[in-house]
Symmetry: C2
Subunit: 554 residues, 2 copies
């Protein structure tokens, strides 16, 4: 039963009042769009994080008007709503609320691509629109435009990720940065458009700051409103594009690599985002725990990890990203990258030619030529066949084509084989992201790694670390805790590790860039003055705590 578990929210609904509120909502959205049976709620309570909270119901409005009407009903009845766009927020809580019993306001039926402006390179979408859907729409109707996507779930929401300030893979990786012009349903059911412009404002989706106070940031990582429409900036298909992939020769030179990446980004030679990933990231993408090890070892024994590294030719740290622009500029950048990174390791460019060669090699590897092909690929490209098979996926995700390929890393420690279509919630994969952000210097990133790596060891988990450039000055140190959900002990330990990581990095002055619903209480404790301001705003905009109670601790 939906009871707010926050002492600051005294109101409670008894079963009958709750049922009658849901009935009223059903009369708005249709009975088929209110999920309230035990089995439906069991499914809705599934998430990869430890101990996800069970929602009181799941409501699926079909339009922005229905969203506003549902919010008004919730306001009247003292119901709390947890807005969620697509619910693919794996590792951060999926579609589960921060508090037991909150009603999930699921927006997947708001899936219209309202407009694509080819000249000005933007789309206007609803929160149910996915990366896959947007890319297909562009390929079909506007092939001159590319979108950014994440290497996460292809059916994740474009808006949902941006409102969580998630990161993509191209130079439009800063998804909130590329959001422009929101339509928001407030807690009183009123709808507001950001930007302060006149009716039919021509720059609503082109001028991010608008006029008057810039308020869009209010609706990110927060509980101040329900975004029902947004402009998303797109890229013109570039004249030239290629991916690059770089293996760091000497592990101890990681700080030098990070400093080089910062310099290259600050001077504008390479754009956000590029990723530096460690061996466990690569292994989680390319492979799974060896048979019989899941449940027996909470982390790969060192010798097994070493053997897997050798088997897949995985380096301790690799670096990759995409380059795009006019042909002349891309050529110049490639030359520059070669000159700057050569002293540190091996650089390779992945263009259409390489993708074709990789495809052929992969096809041959499934024939009787497997052995000589594998030998040749290892010998001359320095890659395993599995890694070569990854090249086309890297090449296409950087162009905005999302893929299940990468996100199946969630099954690294699953006893199930990796499925074609990943659904780690359904498949009980244990995964929680921990994502502090550091100034992009070798010293700072090393400091964060030095705090976290021993904690992973102490709690007995594989140390998965991906270093993502959020901007030229900041690097997200994205760590995954893979745990076996079926093991109560591993689950408890995963949660303890998560909390220990938060405490240790916070004490050292590093903030998370984003938190899972598990850690939302803690994050508000980091900055009491900031939290007080955020609560003042919450009280002004949503005094009855109707929207997303507990989100980011507010």
């Amino acid at each position: 039963m939906p009871e707010s578990n926050s002492p600051s929210i005294p109101r409670r609904l008894d079963s009958a009042a709750f049922a009658s509120a849901l009935d009223e909502i059903a009369s708005i959205v249709g009975a088929a769009h209110v999920r309230r049976s035990a089995s439906e709620l069991d499914a809705a309570a599934k998430a990869t994080i430890p101990a996800p909270k069970r929602p009181g119901a799941v409501v699926h409005p079909g339009s922005a008007d229905e969203v506003a009407a549902v919010v008004r009903v919730a306001q009247r009845h003292g119901l709390s709503l947890w807005p969620c766009s697509r619910g693919r927020n794996w590792g951060y809580g999926s579609a589960t609320p921060a508090r037991e019993g909150t009603v999930v306001l699921h927006l997947e039926r708001l899936d219209r691509i309202v407009e694509v402006n080819e000249e000005l390179a933007y789309a206007v979408v609803e929160p149910g629109v996915t990366y896959r859907q947007l890319k297909r729409h562009l390929e079909t109707h506007h092939p001159r435009l590319w979108c950014d996507c994440t290497d996460g779930p292809p059916d994740g929401s474009v808006i949902g990720n941006a409102l969580d300030r998630g990161l993509g893979v191209s130079h439009y990786a800063d998804h909130f940065g590329a959001l422009c012009g929101l339509e928001v349903v407030l807690a009183d059911g009123e709808t507001v458009r950001t930007g302060g412009g006149p009716q039919d404002c021509k720059t609503w989706h082109t001028h991010k700051w608008g006029v008057g106070p810039y308020l869009e940031g209010l609706f990110t990582q927060s509980s101040y409103g329900v975004v029902v429409k947004a402009g998303v900036w797109l890229m013109p298909k570039p004249d030239a594009f290629c991916a690059f992939q770089f293996d760091l020769r000497d592990e101890s030179r990681l700080p030098a690599l990070i400093d080089a990446v910062r310099t290259l980004m600050l001077e504008g030679t390479i754009p956000a985002a590029s990723h530096i990933v460690n061996d466990i990231v690569a292994l989680a993408i390319l492979a799974q725990y060896p048979p019989g090890m899941v449940g027996k070892h909470s982390r790969l024994p060192d010798d097994v990890r070493a053997a897997m590294r050798a088997r897949y030719l995985v380096h301790p740290w690799s670096f990759g990203g995409g380059l795009q622009g006019s042909a002349a500029v891309v050529r110049a950048v490639k030359r520059e990258l070669r000159a700057r990174l050569a002293p540190l390791g091996k650089l390779m460019f992945i263009d259409d030619r390489v993708v074709r060669a990789a495809t052929i090699a992969n096809r041959l590897a499934r024939t009787s030529f497997a052995a000589p092909v594998e030998w040749a690929v290892r010998r001359f490209a320095g890659k395993s066949l599995e890694m070569l098979a990854a090249a086309p996926h890297v090449h296409s995700v950087l162009q905005g084509t999302p893929s299940d390929y990468f996100v199946r890393h969630a099954y690294f420690k699953s006893s199930l084989p990796k499925p074609d279509v990943a659904d780690p919630d359904r498949d009980d994969c244990g995964l929680i992201w921990f994502a502090p952000i550091a100034p992009m210097t070798g010293r700072h990133v090393e400091a964060v790694l030095a705090i976290c790596r021993p904690l992973f060891e102490r709690y007995g988990f594989d140390f998965y670390a991906a270093l993502l450039t959020q901007n030229p000055r900041s690097m997200i140190v994205l760590m995954a805790i893979f745990f076996v959900k079926q093991s109560a002990e591993e689950t408890a330990k995963a949660r303890e590790l998560y909390e220990a990581l938060g405490r240790a990095t916070g004490a050292a002055g590093y903030q998370p860039y984003r938190v899972s619903v598990t850690g939302m209480g803690e994050v508000a404790g980091l900055a009491p003055d900031f939290a007080a301001l955020a609560r003042t705003l919450k009280h002004a905009l949503d005094p009855n705590d109707v929207l997303a109670p507990g989100k980011y601790g507010i």
Copy 2:
């Protein structure tokens, strides 16, 4: 006497209460830092806009703590404060408040450069720090870093301009975009740091969004707090730099040029900001109204304008900006620009070599060789000597060295000669900016020009238009109304034109990117839903309207 002229703020202070509040403030900041005499207030009421409002006093705190203490006194006594950083907001209201009698909270004494981080390329400054001061500090102590500046007043505030979301001239031109990590005194006197990070948060000045709701936008173009410290992103001194200058051959091809600029920016070939300026902009920089014309003609007669264009070899539209990056990338970009712009007009690059040549030519032009030098410069470079003299200023402002050179355009219609150091407030120059923003397409920008140009003609003012790239999708159509302040008729007409421009562009769906204190009431009328939200926030954060009453109509 300070009386709020808004019917929504009923409280009034009588003279004695007001004097006693000021006495209390004097006890905090020192009596010397409270200006309240009639002559001081006369000076403080000077601004280039029509009918500036007279403040009730001007208070100059010396530290953030003093700011907080003054705000608390104001809160207690029902006094209203108008925060102003340096007051060089010429054309937008300078240091004058939106309402008669508001006490100006002048922050020029908060002029510390708190920190410069060379590795991560940012500075932390107080609101009194000027562009000139910051550039000199960098040149002396951190020559490897460049800052952006505007082509406006060198003694303008770095923070003040950013909070007004002003625009600079380099690829860090979006000054609010380059602001990261604020310390803000709220209306209750409490201080808050944005970003939500822990004490001593390492990414406070590197990660713009922080964690939890992104709230920095609240403190721009608004009255929600007093920013007393901010991080400002800087650029590493590039390997290569040059300016470019382009003259459009055929006036009717302006839309094609705008579309080309958008394409070049969207693909990343050229960065923000570049400027397209019309003939009146160039003439205002290079020259003044011919003798005897000020006061006689409110706009240049067509034949005079044509003669001046010929005299100074000014084109109807010119385009310019800076390029920086690694040497190879800059070379590639130059080639690309040549290929793309050649069909439309004449492109010239201004590098150190050209600057040296211009300097020599200018020196020779002051000797007996003047005539042949001028002939040669006009014949071979296609430039007037005056225009050649501008090249070094263009070259250096794009590197962050501010200069009085450009801003002396405010004296275009003054009967005073252009002074070395511009002070258009003191010198009674009449200037008001009108700055709508349009999607960056030839069609939209032409539409705005087609709305505004006839209004300038109807009201009898020179049509000054500079097209500034705010981002790859949006162009600010910056228009100046130059009027003779001594003429009541011209002043009234300037104000009427300003209002007519606002009505006409608003009705066509174009919003201003920024408004002068004169037009702040109107802007809130553009978007009632947005204004209602902004007022809810104002009520929550500053229920007694202590801070900047009337700012942006809120």
